[in-house]
């Protein structure tokens, strides 16, 4: 089980009569950048909640960093990083305070923390801004900072839930360079996005439709098998057939 960052087998979640995630099976290799795509309501969020140890599956199996999602959710939470578009930083704390807070949550020692803080501020050119309130930063900077913080504790795997929504095109690309850099350091990246060009940056992508993973392959092969020019065309061809929306 330990060769994969994520291994899911027939993973399913039902809410009453509704099957949100319908027996999905896939593996994510260590160090891979994995794009997890799907229309609104396809079941991505529910699947992510199960993989991050926040929601117990109804049936099936899943191991994240070798830990069982049923019985080892606390170990999973310690071994992953997470950031989303909707929530990343505390706006009423300064940049440095945010780093300190998250470092504390992840259990870094104070010596480690001050070293990491300095490294982090330098790597994103934030040294001058360390006493600014996070809320005063432009969105793109916030997201770059939030990403750095999500990998502060050197997790084996980081989950990014629409990290670049609304971010300007230059910063969006700088953000992806950060992702590449993290992946180069061996961190596995599991990312969702509505920007279809970003799907092309992934090593492999899966596309979920109505709770099921319809396709999973590298972008090149996906385009070839759908005779499509872009992952966007593949996505539209698949998701047009979707029966349900999100709720």
């Amino acid at each position: 089980m330990n060769d994969f960052a994520i291994e899911a087998k027939n993973l399913t979640k039902t809410f009453g009569a509704f099957t949100a995630v319908d027996s999905i099976s896939f593996e994510v290799s260590k160090g891979e950048i994995f794009g997890f795509l799907g229309a609104n309501g396809a079941g991505k969020t529910t699947a992510m909640k199960m993989l991050t140890g926040l929601l117990a599956p109804s049936s099936g199996k899943a191991f994240v960093n070798g830990f069982d999602v049923y019985t080892e959710s606390e170990q999973i939470k310690k071994s992953i990083g997470y950031m989303s578009q909707k929530f990343s930083l505390y706006n009423d704390l300064t940049v440095a305070e945010n780093i300190e807070f998250y470092g504390g949550v992840y259990g870094l020692s104070s010596k480690m923390l001050s070293k990491k803080t300095e490294e982090l501020l330098r790597s994103v050119n934030f040294t001058e801004l360390k006493d600014s309130l996070a809320g005063s930063l432009p969105l793109g900077w916030k997201q770059k900072l939030a990403f750095s913080i999500s990998v502060l504790h050197n997790p084996q795997l980081v989950f990014l839930d629409e990290p670049t929504g609304g971010v300007d095109p230059v910063t969006r690309r700088q953000f992806w360079e950060q992702i590449y850099e993290a992946s180069d350091r061996g961190i596995t990246v599991f990312v969702t996005t509505h920007y279809m060009d970003e799907a092309e940056y992934c090593d492999r992508v899966s596309i979920m439709v109505d709770g099921k993973i319809e396709v999973l392959d590298n972008p090149e092969n996906l385009k070839r098998s759908f005779s499509a020019n872009s992952v966007e065309d593949v996505f539209i061809a698949l998701a047009r057939g979707a029966k349900r929306g999100d709720s």
Binding site: G38, A39, N40, G41, Q85, P138, L139, G140, E162, G165, G166, V167, D168, P169, V170, T171, R173, W176, E177, Y180, E181, S183, D184, H194, Y195, M196, D197, E198, E200, Y201, P219, S230, V231, E232, F235, I236, A239, R240, A242, R244, G245, D246, S247
Partner: protein, 307 residues
Amino acid sequence: MPAVEVYSIHKSFKKVQALRDVSFFVKQGELYGFIGPDGAGKTTLFRILNTLLVPNKGNAVVLGLDVVKDYKQIRPKLGYMPGRFSLYHDLSVQENLEFFASVFGASISENYELVAPIYSQLEPFKNRYAGKLSGGMKQKLALSCALIHKPELLLLDEPTTGVDAVSRKEFWEMLGKLKQKGITIIVSTPYMDEAKLCDRVALIQDGSIMQIDTPANVVKSYDRKILGIKSSQTYRLLKVLKQYEWMHSVHPFGEYIHFTEKREQPDVQALQSFLVNQGIGDVIIKEIEPNIEDSFMALMKEEAAHE
């Protein structure tokens, strides 16, 4: 008479300058797009046009009426769809539509024809609470509610943000149909690829308009040759390209990295051998047509250089 005329508008909130010297005109019947990231000033601008905010300087005329003096006459003529979901979650689909119609003294039946192409898709769910709708359906309901009093001008603030690629496509198809009915539409979006679906676009960043033109002309005004470069080692390729002596810009862009040189005529051969020498053997280089995003990034760079 233009549908909208805006002259040198400035708007600040405490220390934040949200809009700096913004001027533009929108023609009757035009589908006009504000393209820019979060924080560019799009929402502030929309709130000035819909008379909810007063500018610090400059003036704006909407449908021939002044946004400050004539706000009462302007409001019934506008349909506004705010960026955040603005419907009543605890009212049903139909109740929401009835509510918005009644606020403007209209009824669903008198304007049904206008909303029918959109609303008919929601009718099977008309008794569902709005809060229980999918993202795409919420968006359709919000558009129906903005339209139900038959406005002359629609202001749509980021209607497609956070919505998947398929729903976005359907939404733009709906806007195309509304345009055919003669409604003027001003829409904002952070998705650069949506610019090409507008008649004209204003590219906005940091409270300033960087360029206004048709999407085709925006792209045409981009004056550098772009090379698309691909290799299986994307990250290494990015790093190596940044060290190339003639490098002007390097941006990941889907399948191919977009690369421009400082000199006018890039030397593909020289670049290729440089990359091979750096250990990137499987490189593919081809000339690529610029798109709106290339233009936008080039303009951002120019603006930054002026500051």
